[in-house]
């Protein structure tokens, strides 16, 4: 088990390192003058010279990679072009909002998915099951920003419902939560549909197994069989996906934050793109990639702990 953890952590570190190297040489990989790429052809010469210095472009390429990677290791993501503030600080201020959004969305998705999956798995092939299946495929395929836009239209323009835009203040949790509802729902629906499908099929698999018949034979009531026994067996499959889900949610959160004018990493990146402030974009991408790798690592290790069947494999 310990060997497995060490190997898994090693792989994660290598992936992060590769990502950092890729990002530090990206300006050189693309055709064209790096400064023109970053600031556009009509950039102010003073700003261009400044950018050259800030991006460390006068060093050799290996030195650039080293400076960037070691900087990231120290928590230094560079400075932004326009206001000279440290990028790490900007991201640090924005990140909690995005993490809360992604986390709440994921929880919401699981809470929506579980009853849908149970209802579907209880009567596979029924009209309700087929209907829920079609709806799930529907919400999975529609982009999250389309769902976000439609929810925004529905809530604000037609219903005059909830404070739909802005972030609210963390000092006032009720207000913050009210602002969180629509964005979180927009992000959650896709994963709710996806998890519902996944849970349904793994529950169906479990429900056909002998130990479920055995539980019935000892008088265990049906609700316990579905919600306690079958669901418990299906959960490792969901946990394995949570890493992927969090990464995907962080990506989609960019759109959702812009649509609902929420503070967060996505809005920070959007503004940086508009202002061609490349260090911020690069820093944001680094943070998202690292979080993604980390989430996958944690999900994988958590699964080893949760699922006795996987422990069995490791033990062998």
């Amino acid at each position: 088990m310990l060997g497995y953890v060490a190997r898994r952590v090693g792989v994660a570190l290598v992936v992060v390192l590769l990502v950092l190297i890729f990002l530090s040489v990206l300006v050189h990989l693309l055709p064209g003058n790096p400064v023109t790429l970053m600031l556009g052809p009509r950039a102010d010469p003073a700003l261009a010279a400044d950018a050259r210095r800030q991006m460390d472009l006068d060093s050799s390429v290996p030195a650039q990679v080293w400076h960037f990677v070691s900087g990231v290791a120290r928590g230094d993501l560079g400075q932004d072009f326009l206001t000279k503030r440290p990028v790490a600080g900007l991201i640090g201020a924005a990140l909690p909002h995005t993490l809360i959004l992604a986390g709440v969305s994921l929880v919401l998705a699981v809470l929506i998915a579980i009853p849908l999956a149970v209802v579907s798995a209880a009567r596979p092939g029924s009209a309700l099951d087929r209907f829920l299946g079609t709806v799930s495929v529907g919400v999975i395929s529609i982009p999250s920003y389309v769902i976000g836009m439609l929810l925004l239209l529905l809530a604000t323009v037609w219903l005059g419902w909830l404070p739909a835009i802005g972030t609210g203040s963390l000092a006032d949790p009720g207000d913050y939560l009210a602002h969180l509802v629509l964005p979180a729902l927009s992000l959650a629906l896709i994963w709710a549909g996806y998890l519902a499908r996944l849970l349904r099929s793994s529950m169906l698999e479990v429900l056909g197994e002998n130990h479920v018949r055995a539980a019935r034979a000892y008088g265990v009531p049906e609700w316990r069989i579905y919600y306690q026994l079958a669901l418990r067996n299906a959960i490792p499959g969901v946990v394995a996906l949570i890493g992927v889900a969090l990464g995907d949610l962080m990506g989609s959160a960019i759109f959702i934050e812009v649509i609902f004018t929420r503070n967060g990493l996505g809005t920070l990146l959007y503004n940086a793109i508009t202002e061609r402030d490349y260090p911020i974009v690069r820093g944001g991408v680094v943070v998202i990639a690292v979080l993604f790798v980390l989430a996958n690592l944690i999900a994988d290790l958590a699964n080893r702990v949760i699922d006795p069947r996987l422990r069995e494999e490791v033990a062998r």
């Binding site: 197994e209 002998n210 130990h211 479920v212 018949r213 055995a214 539980a215 019935r216 034979a217 000892y218 008088g219 265990v220 009531p221 316990r224 306690q228 026994l229 418990r232 067996n233 699922d307 006795p308 069947r309 422990r311 069995e312």
Partner: protein
């Protein structure tokens, strides 16, 4: 009180599976009674309806299966008339099943202790934690597990096949049900463990008067454990008799073929059964005797109409030739 009801009475039970929308009959009017404290063996080739019969006693048919005639009573109560709650209390409480495959019949995601506790909580919500635990430890000890406390903490994968089968039996004993249905409880185990499990079942009957339906294709186990035997073929009972009588003087040609295929009781039937031909499938339409097609003695009378189950003293046989072959 009037004449005591038998522990289990199966009367004219028919079970039909719906496969691809079409009915397929798996049990054709099976009637059997099991007296209090009796161990009845049910034998036959795979696919003859043994496991369906075992499940039907607990009203536990696989999806698509349904009783299409007759019924089952346990201690006089109609199993198929029990309401939801009463049925749940009945299952495990008054009749319990020991399953065939110890490797898949325990939930892999929970410890043995948790799973035993769940069954106890369901049947006796008022019991204290300590009482549940001591009962679980008792039962695990009773089935011959040397370190019950360790087994309680274990996940199924941490136990050997024999240990898991003992745990399965512990589940069945947990609530002290007067009736046990053992569906091929030893077929997945090695010979030594098999013998220990059989001894355990016999002791249960001897000490607690438990009634046992012992389903098996292993004639050796049946000969050692059972009081009486019912032989099944193609969803029908073809012969019942006291175990010694059946092995000494089988009446039905199918029984003789089964026994003939087992020169030694100590060997496993499945390795040696060499009756030519195969039993009719669920779809086949059988007019006369179901065994006629494979029977060396079959004559015109055999295909004309299905022979009735004829009572001969305290045994029964379903064969037109029973007098000649007796």
């Amino acid at each position: 009180m009037a004449a005591a009801e038998p522990a289990v009475r199966i009367s004219d039970l028919s079970v039909t599976y719906r496969i691809d929308g079409r009915p397929r009959t798996a049990l054709h009017g099976v009637s059997l009674t099991v007296a209090d404290g009796e161990i009845l063996g049910i034998v036959g080739e795979s696919g003859c309806g043994k496991s369906t019969l075992a499940g039907a006693v607990l009203r536990l048919l696989p999806p698509g299966g349904a009783v299409s005639g007759g019924g089952v009573t346990v201690a006089g109560d109609d199993v198929y008339a029990l309401g939801g709650d009463a049925l749940r209390r009945f299952r495990g409480g008054r009749a319990a099943m020991i399953f065939q495959d110890p490797f898949t019949s325990l939930n892999p995601s929970f410890t043995v202790g948790w799973q035993l506790g769940l069954v106890q909580r369901v049947h006796d919500p008022g019991a204290s934690r300590a009482r549940r635990r001591s009962r679980a430890l008792d039962v695990l000890g009773e089935v011959g597990l040397p370190d019950p406390a360790a087994v309680l903490r274990a996940y199924p994968y941490q136990l050997s096949g024999g240990q898991r089968q003992r745990v399965m039996i512990a589940f069945a004993l947990l609530l002290r049900p007067p009736v046990l249905i053992a569906d091929e409880p030893t077929s997945a185990l090695d010979v030594t463990t098999q013998a220990q499990i059989l001894a355990l079942l016999r002791r249960l009957r001897d000490e607690h008067g438990t009634t046992i339906l012992f389903v098996s294709h292993d004639l050796g186990s049946v000969a050692r454990l059972c009081d009486r035997v019912a032989v099944m073929y193609a969803g029908r009972v073809v012969e019942t008799a006291d175990v010694a009588e059946l092995f000494a003087a089988p009446k039905h040609p199918y029984t003789r073929a089964l026994l003939g295929a087992v020169p030694s009781w100590r060997r496993r039937a499945e390795e040696l059964v060499t009756i030519p031909g195969r039993p009719p499938g669920l779809t086949a339409r059988v007019d006369g005797c179901a065994f006629a097609a494979r029977c060396p003695h079959a004559g015109p009378a055999c295909v004309a109409a299905e022979p009735p189950l004829v009572r001969l003293g305290d045994r029964t046989v379903r064969c037109v030739l029973h007098e000649e072959t007796a």
